[in-house]
Symmetry: C2
Subunit: 220 residues, 2 copies
């Protein structure tokens, strides 16, 4: 009982709550907007008014990662923006492959926001012979049979899954076998993968149903 209990994480690595993590990209977006508008410094109170959150929450959130501000001054926008980029891993190589080159996969490949934030889409994959060989926004569509070879030859840790739900689970398992560390899942299924695999879901059907609920519950 004299021992401290064993930790998965190293001693100084604080666990950040999911609620905080989800807010980080929004801070980053607002800081980028401020920077482009040549705003040099901002207080938590000013930022809270722009973002429609409390100043307390902003200070609490940021202080999970360090003291980026200065009493009596506030936060330097450019400095905080760059620190946020580091926290979010945007200063690292972030190559992405897209598995499923249908409409949604192509839409992602064409989305300029990702590239602007340092994400590189380096390959699309599909089973459909009509799509294979196509170039989408400068990126080639490969035969899905080439996945293993491609991943072995490139630094790919993130795969976007934009294929039918019926195929998603099987392909996700294969991707993980091949070395993929994170799945950005657009298929309407819950993937069951090893605990160390990161899964980020974008469930469009669930999103529109939430909207539908809110419309119809108002009218009762």
């Amino acid at each position: 009982m004299a021992d401290l209990k064993a930790n998965d994480k190293s001693v100084n690595e604080k666990v950040i709550s999911p609620a905080v993590i989800k807010r980080l990209p929004r801070y980053y977006r607002y800081l980028g907007d401020l920077l482009r508008n040549d705003v040099v410094r901002i207080s938590s109170r000013e930022l809270s008014q722009k973002m429609n959150v409390t100043a307390s929450q902003i200070r609490q959130d940021l202080n999970n990662f360090g003291g980026f501000g200065q009493q009596g001054y506030g936060y330097n926008v450019e400095y905080l923006y760059n620190e946020m980029a580091k926290i979010l891993g945007l200063n690292k190589v972030n190559n992405i492959i897209i598995v499923g080159a249908g409409n949604l996969g192509q839409a992602l490949a064409n989305n300029s926001d990702f590239v602007h934030n340092g994400f590189n889409i380096i390959g699309l994959f599909d089973v459909n012979p009509k799509l294979i060989g196509m170039i989408v926004n400068g990126v080639e569509v490969y035969d899905i049979d080439m996945l293993g070879e491609f991943i072995a030859g490139h630094d790919v840790r993130i795969a976007a899954l934009t294929l039918p739900g019926s195929k998603a689970s099987k392909v996700a398992g294969e991707l993980v076998e091949m070395g993929v560390k994170a799945i950005w899942n657009f298929a309407p299924v819950d993937l069951r993968l090893p605990d160390d695999v990161i899964i980020e879901n974008v469930h469009l059907s669930e999103s529109i149903m939430t909207l539908s609920y809110r419309i119809h519950s108002k009218e009762i």
Copy 2:
């Protein structure tokens, strides 16, 4: 002080927490899967194991809307599925227009999941003359100048916004002027609209950044 404090909502209309609302579509999806697999009844405990949540949470969530189960039996899958559809408003007409007929707009128009859940996409709109007149999955692309006329002539309460962030705020305001009640926003901006307008955001850049954070924070 003898008076009850005034309520916005009518007396028997319970306010449901956002956390609960966000979980409803997932229950609906699991119930649909069970139904297609001919499962007749299910207990909160069994369902909790499938969904990887607590049985307590399921019972609490459902009891916000009524007592759908029976002691000693559990829940009838078909009945609960149909009740969930009503709660989510899927038994009502849900026409959607898509403003922005680029890759993402077309991907939404081609997504069969929405149609399966009773959402009807009845028009796409764009400024690009090359897209106007095109038919996407049986739906025509109209000139964005036709928006007002189209909305006046159809029962459209939901508009998906799939256009560049620079145009989203202006168009959203116009849509609301024209009578749209809910915006499904895919543009990377926070829309400022009257309080009674429902906004559901799908921020893809924020989603991929959250994933990036989780990959890189593991490695430190």
